[in-house]
């Protein structure tokens, strides 16, 4: 057997690939569910119900999807330009750090001014965090996979240091956590008596905006060219280094914004466990979406739904809740293979 590149990928195949991948993942994980002794179909039914079966379930899924959309966009934007940013987790924390520093009462501004300021600052902090590895890449050819990965740990230690030091909440009873952001820096709720907040709108807006930029503007045009073939882009006279750095700022900024939105929309203050791996899940989201900015929304909602649903399901059945992550991981791996089959066909010999 060997793989042969296809000349054309039918649109249907591209759209069908994620569905096929998810179905395959569900089928594979059915083995695990069956092993627990739980009835598989009922378990998956409960999963669906827990993810989307009620107003509450839906808002929870969307709440969890919000940061994932942003980190997913961060990964998609970077990966399209072949900038392998594995550091969204660290950038997210940098954004959150900026949010609690500026939003914690340091700036005395009305909400309509404070919120944008905090968001821009958070995005800038996230962007600056990725700028370092990007500069090392374009200047010295240092592999950004490793540098961005390492920066995650450095940032986390930095946050830990600040939370036990300068930023420690004097009212926090000694817990390593920051003081909460002021009320003016809080994102309004979207639906009463739920956790869903307006951060979702920001995320959706950015996803649409990025899609427009990607397809309609010179910026997007340059990004795509540099991502697909940097040498040809440079030859044609495009500012490749600038595009790379710009992409880094954008990608890091999106991840930083995810941190801001988690703090200002949900948590209110910063702790070391603000993100249960949103930065890493963003990569999964981006891959499931085939790096398409609008697809990211769907993928993020899907992953959030799996997680929230599996979590609810595991409480009603003797299935450990770790099944959620197993499902997500399996979906990702299946998606990789499905994506391959849209680009290649299998041939004998």
């Amino acid at each position: 057997m060997r793989l042969e590149p296809r000349e054309h990928t039918p649109l249907a195949a591209r759209l069908l690939a994620p569905v096929a991948a998810v179905v395959a993942a569900l089928a594979l994980c059915a083995l695990l569910v069956a092993w627990t002794g739980a009835p598989v179909l009922r378990a998956y039914g409960l999963l669906l119900e827990g993810a989307a079966g009620s107003r509450f379930a839906l808002t929870e899924t969307l709440t969890r999807a919000t940061p994932l959309i942003l980190t997913g966009l961060a990964a998609a934007v970077a990966f399209r330009a072949k900038l392998w940013n594995i550091g969204a987790e660290g950038q997210l924390y940098m954004g959150a750090l900026a949010a609690v520093v500026l939003g914690g009462g340091m700036l005395d501004l009305p909400a309509w001014l404070l919120l944008p300021t905090v968001m821009i600052a958070g995005a800038a902090a996230g962007g600056a965090t990725l700028l370092g590895p990007a500069v090392l890449k374009v200047r010295f050819g240092v592999d950004e996979v490793v540098t961005t990965l390492l920066l995650n740990f450095i940032v986390l230690l930095l946050v830990s240091m600040l939370l036990e030091g300068a930023l420690k909440d004097p009212m926090g009873m000694g817990w390593p956590q920051s003081a909460p952001v002021v009320e003016a820096a809080e994102l309004p709720k979207l639906v009463e008596r739920t956790r869903l907040h307006t951060g979702l709108l920001v995320a959706l807006g950015l996803s649409a905006l990025l899609w427009l930029i990607d397809t309609r503007t010179i910026w997007g045009y340059e990004n795509r060219a540099v991502g697909a073939n940097p040498r040809a882009a440079a030859f044609a006279g495009m500012p490749v280094t600038r595009v790379m750095l710009r992409t880094a700022l954008l990608s890091g900024g999106l991840a930083g914004l995810a941190g801001v939105i988690e703090v200002c929309g949900l948590k209110g203050y910063l702790t070391l466990d603000l993100s249960p791996g949103f930065g890493y899940s963003g990569i999964v989201v981006a891959m499931l979406a085939q790096l398409h900015p609008v697809g990211v929304v769907g993928a993020a909602v899907f992953i959030a739904g799996i997680f929230v649903g599996a979590d609810a399901m595991s409480r009603a059945m003797p299935v450990p809740n770790y099944i959620a992550d197993v499902l997500v991981a399996t979906s990702l791996l299946c998606m990789l293979v499905a994506g391959l089959l849209t680009r290649y066909r299998l041939r004998r010999g």
Binding site: Y221, A233, G237
Partner: protein, 513 residues
Amino acid sequence: MTSPPIVLRLSGITKRFGPLVANDSISLTLHKGEVLALLGENGAGKTTLMNILFGHYVADEGSIEAFGQPLPPGSPRAALAAGIGMVHQHFTLADNLSVLDNIAVGTESLWRPRSDRAAAKAKLLDLARRFGLEVRPDALVGDLSVGERQRAEILKALYRDARVLILDEPTAVLTPQESASLFDTLRRLTADGLAVVFISHKMNEVFAASDTVAVLRGGRLVATRRTAETDREELAELMVGRALKPPTPTPLEPGEPVLTLSGVTVASGHGRPLLDAVDLTVHRRQIVGIAGVSGNGQTALAELVSGLIHPDSGTMALKGEAIGNADPAEMVRRGVARIPEDRHAAGLVGAMAVWENLIAERYHDPAFQRFGLIRRSAARAYAEEVIEAFDVRCPGPDARTQLLSGGNMQKLILGRTLAHGPDLILASQPTRGLDVGAVSYVHGRLLEARAAGAGVLVISEDLDEILALADGITVAYHGRLTPVLPHGRVSVRQLGLLMAGHWEILPEIVDAA
């Protein structure tokens, strides 16, 4: 007369890449001690055929027999075991490993607890001595010259006791002198009973070295001839399929200078500079050809004129105006049309549409954008015009560029660069890999631009291309350029000597001119 035994028999080999038939039921035989030259245009399917023989590719149809035994398909290992050795068109050596490692890898059972390097080295040195192939077993391949790498490649095959040796364009990167020594070696090998298949585009080599010639065209075997019983004209016609009538330049009076390099040096970071105090002037209505074996600074020169790199010392001027560190965009603005040597890697973004590639050099132009938003319909309309004017065969402006054939890609680049009446044209390997039709189209366009007043700088490894186009010729060697020698005042033999670095003959040529 009984012919020597058959060592290799290919029957009905067919290979398709998608819709393309690279090999179309080819059958060939090779005898012991025979040298078979495989001839054909770019893309005729020569490398593909040899790759099938060596097991890199699996044929869709057909079979191979080596020494009377069927050869299992798709296994270089089996090919090696059957005594077939191959020197690839592009070297297959690992730069970070030593010559000995490169040669010995895979020759021992993988599960031996220890490599027997001493024995391997002894065997290698013995072979080297026997066939006069000087090597340094412990040197890193990355430090070797091109000639040394070539020898390492051949030794790789001999080390495995190859009885059939395939050489895919072995002389493409060698100086005429290095080539001569290679053919010396081949003679010794064949005297030893080895059979050789060698692929070449160079007629003189075919006549100097081969016993038999096989000609491929469009994936088909169109003829096999005893070398002694054919001639150049017949082979050329077989290759191309019709008699050749290349475009002939009409003499023109050169105008004022468009490109002037004086004392330009580009350092390489270590060792010899890439360009070493180069002086060069290209005038309007003049084509200057740069000849030379690859790796002598041509790439650096092309990058310099493209705006990708900048001189470390010396100056570059366009139309009499000194330019500092102009980038590619600046060069385009100043009227330089640049045709890159590698159209896939540097010329086009394959994943993007034809129209997107056509505006790649001027997307900032208000014609194509407003407030940073791309005017897509304007760009498409423009693309339609260029496609029409330059006869680019493609489904339309929205087609993905990857899907175009090599010749049409080159026309696309010509369209992108020549459509705006450039003052200077830099053409690097403008016809590499193109079929004859496309070649004469490109040559015609370049000559047209010259007639329209542009100065043209052609960099080509193909001496025939330079001889066909250039008004003046300069030879690159070790980063230096000879003065521009008027076409017709310098013989092919002299050019060969210059390409090999024998610049002591320069005074006699210049004096004669």
